[in-house]
Amino acid sequence: MSRSTQQWLTAFASGLLFGAGLLLGGMTDPRKVIGFLDVAGAWDPSLAFVMLGAVVVHFIAYRWARGSASPLFADEFAIPKLRHIDAKLVGGSAVFGVGWGLAGYCPGPGIVSLGAGSRDALVFVITMLIGMLLSVKYEARQSRASTGAQPARA
C-alpha cells in the first residue's frame, strides 16, 4: 500500500471516528450546544464532559506518540510550534465564539450535520467557507502590503 493511500485511509478513519464522537457526545444538536453556553440560564453542562473525555484520551496519546521518532505513515510530526499570544489569536477566537453561540454550530458538527442532510448545517457550512475564503484573501492582501510585492496576474 502506498504511503498516500495509508494517509488517506488513516484520515478517513479518523474523520469517521471523530464524527461518531461528535454525534454520540451531543455536539451535533445546536440546542444542546446553546444550552451548554447558556451558563446564566438553563445550563446543560454535558458538553464539558465531551471536552473532558477528549482531552484525557488525547493528553495520554500525545505524550505516548511524541516518544516515537516519527508518525507511522509520514516523515515527521506537524505540530504547531508558535507560543506567542497576540491580538489576532484572541480577536479571531472571540469572533469564532460569537458565531458559535449565535447558531450553535462549530466547524466539525456543522460538517457532520451536513452529511445528515440538515438545511441549517448546509447554510452554516457554505457561509463558513465563504468566511474562510474572505479571510484568506485578506491575509494575502496584508502580506502583499507588508512586503510591497505586486499581486500575481493570471
Binding site: 479518523s14 471523530f18 454520540l24 445546536p30 446553546i34 484572541v90 458565531g99 457532520v112 452529511g115 445528515a116
Partner: protein, 141 residues
C-alpha cells in the same frame, strides 16, 4: 432545557480523543477541523487529499446517523439569516484565530499549548456572552 447526558458525552469525547490520536500517530497531524476544511479547499493542491478524506469521514458519519441515531442531529433554534451570519463569523474567526473547538479546544489543550488555552477560554467566554445576549433579546428565532 436539554437533557444532562454526562455518560454519552464522556464516551463521545473519548471517541473524539481517539480520532485525534489516530491522526497524530498515523500521520503526525493535528485534527483541527477548521484548518482541515479551509486547507482542503484553499490550501496547496498537493496537500488536499488526506484532508478531503478526513472530511468525507465526517460527512459519512453524519449520513450514517440517519440510520443508527436519527435523533442525534438537531436543528438550530435560530432563523436561517442568523445562521448565515454565524457561519461567516466562524469562518473568519477560525482563520484569524488559527483554530476552533477541535484544534484548540481538544488538541491544543491536550498539549497544554498556551495559545490554545487562551483561544479556548476566549471562545467559551464570547460564546456564553452571545447566548446570554441573544436570549435576553428574545431568542433569535
Amino acid at each position: 432545557m436539554t437533557l444532562f447526558t454526562p455518560y454519552a458525552s464522556l464516551a463521545g469525547g473519548a471517541l473524539i480523543g481517539l480520532a485525534a490520536s489516530l491522526l497524530l500517530i498515523g500521520q503526525g497531524r493535528i485534527a483541527g477541523i477548521s484548518g482541515i476544511a479551509s486547507n482542503a479547499l484553499l490550501g496547496k493542491p498537493g496537500d488536499r487529499g488526506w484532508r478531503a478524506a478526513f472530511l468525507l469521514g465526517l460527512v459519512l458519519a453524519g449520513s450514517a446517523s440517519l440510520i443508527f441515531a436519527p435523533a442525534a442531529v438537531g436543528h438550530s433554534p435560530r432563523r436561517l439569516a442568523l445562521i448565515a451570519v454565524a457561519g461567516l463569523l466562524v469562518g473568519i474567526g477560525t482563520r484569524l484565530g488559527s483554530g476552533c473547538t477541535s484544534g484548540h479546544g481538544v488538541c491544543g489543550v491536550s498539549r497544554l499549548s498556551p495559545r490554545s488555552l487562551v483561544a479556548t477560554l476566549t471562545f467559551l467566554l464570547t460564546g456564553a456572552l452571545t447566548v446570554t445576549l441573544v436570549r435576553s433579546l428574545g431568542g433569535g428565532a
